[in-house]
Amino acid sequence: MRQEGILQHSASRLLGLIPTLLVLITIAFFMIRLAPGGPFDSEKILPPEIKANLEAKYHLDEPLVKQYFRYLGQIITLDFGPSFQYKDWTVNELIARGFPVSLTIGGLAIVLAFFLGTLIGIVAAMRQNTAVDYSLMGVAMLGISIPNFVVAPLLILLVAVYAGWLPAGGWDWSVQRMVLPVVTLALPAIAYIARLTRGSMIEVLNSNYIRTARAKGLPEHLVIRRHALKPALLPVISFMGPATAGLITGSVVIERIYSIPGLGSYFVQGALNRDYTLVMGVVIFYGVIIILLNFIVDILYAWMNPRIRYNEAQ
């Protein structure tokens, strides 16, 4: 019964992806073009003849609606078109090059954050209101309180420039170059996850069935592992969907400070340069990822929380 519900649910969610994406594309397409300025504006303003040639080349001289349908026709074939800013590359290529990098760093960061964060959260919850709790959470809070544009240069200065242990930045897929970015990216996520885990763990530990479990004389670590862990992780799982999507699609701050060729910069650079095709490409890509991840989170949520029943009729 429950299994069937999930399958049914999955199918409808996946079908629902198409209208969602269509709305997303439509909103993004028109929003981007409403922003003032165009992709070929610069301080050295082009003579009208040259500007007209450029606009004709990229079909920007057509009516907006025509451009919109042209674009829709184009992305059905999964062709995101050429980038306006990086003229030698197509948007597909840029995403194909940037995503593996962001996925690696973001994926490592989220895995690190998940394990470290839940661990800190559980320990703090078990020792609620003790010195252990306070100091663990105090340290974790540093991850949220210090912005990553401070942490990153500070780490570079200490670890790369003064100590010379790791390179200051750049990218060649080597582990040395991943350490600092992954740590910087994971810090706030560790703090968030630790806090969420601690909060919900305390709540779960105070619930009736845990009391019952304890009353039966089950040792505390077994209580946690067998009964408390799953429900306590529910808010964390909720958080993981968007957090993972955010981390694996890159961070503009990390990429800029560590000179990493990830996806994150395209969101900001593409927007600032009015690189319409690039922005549309990353927006659609990000949209697909986040919808998929939320979907996975929902499944996980259902799996971990038997109280949710998908086939339930209201």
Binding site: E43, K87, D88, W89, L166, P167, W171, L272
Partner: protein, 563 residues
């Protein structure tokens, strides 16, 4: 793990603090370095600002692209280390008496990097491609002095009508619409570089990629890791290959200036594109030998919107506002890097041109403040009835600080109430162009060629770049004369006159003239400061370290003993 990293010194260089000193430079009689002082590894790693947009020379417009293209390609003319225009692919040229026809004689033994011979026909093909509407080159502005270029770009004439004629296999004639003394300089711009026709036909839009790009310069493209690095290696077929010492150049795209400095300090760069604005004192103290500052072909100024109140027909007010700014403080305390405080539009350092210097440039700031207060009251403002205005600038640390400083000076000297408006770049550009909501705004100009005309023509009535709404028929008339004048001295005097008119109208507030500032590893020599900030890698070479020299000797001794 950290310990193991520490051991692998070869993986990445040690911090700059522990770096070795280079050996003394010894030059041969012909000015080249003595082979004994050269480092074994002639790889130069250059910080290069943001990721280049393209390596198609005809599509490129950004400085980072141009830096790389200058190493990959060579135009009819090229630049010496100090920036003088010297023969490139053309060994010599004739200029007709009316200064409108240039005949270029090409070197006869030149080859493309794929082995094809390089002939005049390649240049005809390439210049036509650059001017063709289908190419839609954003830099085609540089070609406008060529006859019929405007019509070709506007698709009114076929590209064959462009004023370029092939005289024979090695001779080429270019006809201009008017005398353009800086034309030889324009030919060093990437838009005038040749592209290989066969290469283009084979790969189409993808010709500018590694493994595909065919070039004619000192280097060829070896690898392009998008947003990581662009690697060039020496082109053995280049005409000066045997005198080119650096055999690998790696351009690193690093957007953030402070990041560039940390990378340099950690030893990952030999050359930075820039250094952060307010770290002068610190850099001066810690890297005095690496810090290089030199004048640049650009002016930093603020513009008035002359189409709105209160600035229309109000030169006295504009003068008061200009006078109340202490430029010395801005260059000493804010920009800090030895920028020249300026009262003129055209920066110093242009050949054959003495910029106009108004008499008040020699006054003390107190005198100027006095005069500013007098004028301010003259046009009806006072502390009780202050001027309310705004300064608009695009988001940037430097612009912000200068705007702040100016607002503070206006407040302290005149009591002006200034609000600051910081806008995202494209929004800023659009507002500036529309000339409706702007009042005082950040402006500035860095020229693509070494000529005052580049600065002056921005203020011609109706020019697309005239965001100031400046319109003065006498000024326009003088500019028209400049465009047709072929005698250099007279042309110079006319431009001087135009600049004088513009500055007497107080259409802009000149603040300072730009400098280039960067860190350069002491091992890297052979380059020279120049106002265009063009540095071809083929002139550079790397000295070996003192320590390395000792090690070499020891090794040699050991080997000898073994033998």
């Amino acid at each position: 793990m950290l310990a193991s990293c520490h051991d692998q010194d070869g993986e990445f260089a040690r911090p700059r603090e522990k770096r070795d000193q280079p050996v003394e430079l010894v030059l041969l009689d012909d000015g080249r370095p003595h082979p004994a002082v050269l480092a074994e590894d002639q790889t130069v790693i250059r910080g290069n600002g943001e990721e280049p947009q393209t390596l198609d020379p005809h599509q490129a417009e950004s400085v980072p692209s141009a830096n790389i293209l200058r190493d990959l390609f060579e135009g009819l003319t090229t630049e010496a280390p100090a920036g003088d225009i010297i023969p490139g692919a053309a060994i010599r040229w004739n200029i007709s008496r009316d200064a409108r026809t240039y005949t270029f004689y090409l070197r006869r033994d030149m080859l493309w990097s794929n082995g094809d011979p390089l002939t005049a026909d390649d240049f005809v093909f390439s210049l036509r491609r650059a001017a063709s509407p289908a190419t839609a080159s954003p830099s085609a502005t540089m070609l406008l002095p060529i006859q019929n270029a405007r019509e070709v770009l506007a698709n009114e004439l076929p590209v064959e009508d462009l004023g370029i004629a092939l005289l024979d296999k090695y001779t080429l004639q270019i006809t201009l619409t008017g005398p353009t003394p800086y034309f030889l300089g324009l030919l060093t711009h990437p838009v005038a570089y040749p592209v290989n026709r066969r290469n283009l036909e084979e790969f189409g839009d993808e010709f500018s990629r590694p493994d595909k790009l065919v070039s004619n310069g000192a280097y060829v493209l070896r690898d392009w890791k998008h947003r990581v690095s662009i690697e060039l290696e020496k082109n053995p077929l280049y005409r000066e290959a045997e005198n080119t010492i650096v055999d690998h150049v790696i351009f690193m795209p690093i957007e953030d200036v402070s990041v560039e400095v940390t990378q340099f300090r950690s030893g990952a760069l030999d050359w930075t594109n820039e250094v952060p604005n307010n770290q002068f004192a610190w850099l001066q103290r810690n890297y005095p030998d690496e810090l290089v500052i030199s004048p640049w072909m650009g002016s930093y100024f603020f513009g008035f919107n002359l189409e709105v109140e209160p600035f229309v027909q109000n030169p006295e007010l504009r003068q008061a506002l200009s006078f109340a700014i202490d430029r010395q403080i801005i260059t000493d305390k804010v920009t800090q890097f030895g920028e020249q405080p300026s009262f003129a539009l055209v920066p110093p350092g242009i050949e054959d041109y003495i910029p106009f210097v108004p008499e008040y440039a020699d006054w003390t700031q107190e005198q100027r403040n006095e005069e500013a207060r007098r004028l301010y009251e003259l046009v009806g403002y006072s502390h009780e009835n202050p001027l309310r205005t705004e300064i608009r600038y695009n988001s940037s640390e430097n612009h912000k600080k200068i705007a702040l400083a100016i607002a503070s000076m206006w407040k302290q000297v005149l009591g002006v109430n200034t609000s600051l408006v910081n806008e995202e770049f494209r929004v800023f550009l659009q507002n500036r162009q529309q000339k409706v909501i702007t009042q005082v705004f950040r402006a500035g100009w860095i020229s693509d060629y070494n000529d005052p005309y580049s600065f002056l023509e921005l203020f011609r009535t109706g020019d697309g770049r005239n965001d100031y709404g400046y319109s003065n028929s006498i000024f326009d008339a003088v500019l028209d004369e400049v465009a047709t004048e072929r005698i250099r001295a007279r042309r110079s005097r006319l431009m001087f006159e135009a600049e004088r008119i513009l500055l007497s109208d107080f259409a802009v507030i000149p603040i300072y003239s730009y400098v280039t500032k960067r860190l350069v590893d002491q091992h890297l020599k052979g380059w020279q400061n120049n106002v265009m900030d063009h540095h071809l890698t083929r002139y550079m070479y790397k000295l070996k370290s003192r320590e390395a020299e000792e090690t070499v000797t020891i090794e040699t001794v050991v080997k000898e003993e073994e033998q």
